[in-house]
Amino acid sequence: MEETEKPKGILVWPIVKLASLTKKGWPGWTVLIGLIIVISIVIMTILAPYISPYDPNALNTGPIFGPPCPAHPFGTNHLGQDMFSRVLWGGSTMLQVALLSVLICFAVGVPIGLFSSYIGGNLDKVISLIMDSIYAFPGLILAIAIAVMLGRGVVNMALSIAVIYIPSYFRIVRSQVLTIKEMTYVEAARAIGAKKRTILARYILPNVIPSIVTVATINFADAVLTAAGLTFLGWGVEVDVPDWGWDLYYGRQYLPSRAWWIIFFPGLMIILLALGFTFIGEGLSEILNPRLREGE
């Protein structure tokens, strides 16, 4: 693997790998752009403690409601906090929540969908009914309700987002499996005496994965937005944790007094992060399908 290569290789390998994406045509570029956006934001968040000019929670670092200027490139808010520092710091919660919620959804929604629709019958009907009733709820409201029950914190936010997303995974997996299990190649697999386990793992699951990846990336994008929404409504993280959602919450009150920079920059970051994930999802869903691969 990469580790055994020369030290230089560790640095070059990912770049070479990423550059090869562009050979896959337009979807490759989409994934690349999405990856660049997301990775930049991740790096920015990790490096925030070292590169931010001020403590994100320090008060009166400059004038109150100071518009962007060389000392405070993104301006200052109502407490005189440096918005640039806050933007650098503020992605961490969202990224953690998004990643965790996608992992939970994946681990729960996919197996349930797979077994439920492969086995079928009454079990499938009951599970579908439960999933559909969760799905029928407006997502954000359900997330708020669960977040209120569980309390604040990253894991609780991730859980409440996961609950509203599991039905999406379930539904997409279930409908895909319903189509795929009728395909002749699944029947052919049965006709060669393959075990149920083999059929699920080798014939059905791999054919479902591309659709799941698409849902997962859209889930990422939506989790970012829902996390922002939860924090905005006061059910996300504690107030002393710098977060784009909090900045939106406080900043919106000062928009009438034309302090646009307080919500503009955090808002832009949320949009960029969501956009990055969406790009990756759209591109991957085309690349992962060998039938749509070009030039092979």
């Binding site: 395909m183 190649y185 006709a191 060669i192 005496g193 080798r202 014939y203 060998p290």
Partner: protein
């Protein structure tokens, strides 16, 4: 192999569809049986019944399938799994969808071998390469995906998959229906060659009488879930006993007789939900008599090796 009074019904919401109704026949090792009949007459269901893969809501309700001295109808799912692919193999109608699009061609063959034999992956791969040679497919393509293969090549792979473990019986369900005539001829030749090499028994399900004429030793004609005629191949073509067989043979287009208008059988097969009383072909039969619509004819042996279910032949 022997099929006795087999009944496979589909239990739908609208009622019971008797897709295979009281079918009895026998074939011997090395023989080719051609099953012919119109669409929806139960040919494929019969094929699926033998390997016990009738899709739900279908079920074998009665009868026996004796294969190598064993009644498959009573065999457990576990026993069946060991028979499928190893002793009885199946070739499907549509080669475009019968291979997993995400698995390499070689992996299909390797998987089959590993399912039934305790060999290493390398050995299996070696065997897969040999098999590709036999199918006339270049070894280099073992790592290709199905979408990189043409329809004819995929069907060759399917046939290879069916024959890889040297089974005793192969059920081919319309193996060339989705292919053009040139490829069809290639596939049929390949099947003939392999059949002779392996001395296997073949059940060829098709609606193409031309194929049957070329390949089959015995022919079973099915109509509305019933086996109406079962006979050696040649005598059936020379002198069809059942009016339906006769009509079926007349309906084959002949390229040399361009002036002749194509004959067809008026009407369509009866609804299998509520089969009519008497002979099921009676409403479309030009020789139908009074008894035909009153009493159902039974399959009886008229001459040696010639069975027919028709009142006119008594």
């Amino acid at each position: 192999m022997k099929v006795e009074k087999l009944r496979t019904y589909y239990f739908t919401r609208h009622g019971v569809v008797k897709a295979v109704d009281n079918v009895t026949f026998e074939i011997y090792k090395g023989e080719t049986l051609g099953l012919v009949g119109e669409s929806g007459c139960g040919k494929s269901t019969l094929g699926f019944s033998i390997i016990k893969l009738v899709p739900p809501p279908g079920r074998i309700v009665d009868g026996k399938i004796i294969f190598e001295g064993k009644n498959l109808v009573e065999a457990s799912e576990d026993e069946m799994r060991k028979i499928r692919g190893k002793k009885i193999a199946m070739v499907f109608q549509d080669p475009m969808t019968s291979l997993n699009p995400l698995m390499r061609i070689g992996d299909h063959i390797v998987e089959l071998i590993l399912t039934h034999e305790k060999v290493t992956k390398e050995k299996a791969l070696e065997k897969a390469e040999k098999l590709l040679d036999e199918l006339g497919i270049s070894r280099e393509r073992i790592n290709d995906y199905p979408h990189q293969f043409s329809g004819g090549m995929r069907q060759r792979v399917m046939i290879g998959l069916a024959l890889a473990l040297n089974p005793d019986l192969v059920i081919a369900d319309e193996p060339t229906t989705a292919l053009d005539v040139i490829v069809e001829a290639q596939i049929l030749n390949l099947m003939k060659k392999l059949k002779e090499n392996y001395n296997l028994t073949l059940i060829l399900i098709t609606h193409n009488i031309g194929i049957v004429a070329e390949m089959a030793d015995k022919i079973g004609v099915m109509y509305a879930g019933k086996l109406v005629e079962f006979s050696e191949s040649l005598p059936l073509f020379e002198n069809p006993l059942h009016p339906y067989t006769e009509a079926l043979l007349e309906a084959v287009p002949n390229i040399k007789l361009s002036e002749q208008t194509l004959k067809w059988i008026p009407g369509s097969p009866p609804n299998l939900l509520n089969p009519i009383k008497g002979c099921r072909f009676a409403p479309r039969c030009k020789y139908a008599k009074k008894i035909c619509s009153e009493k159902e004819p039974e399959l009886i042996e008229i001459e040696k090796g010639r069975f027919v279910a028709c009142h006119l032949r008594k």
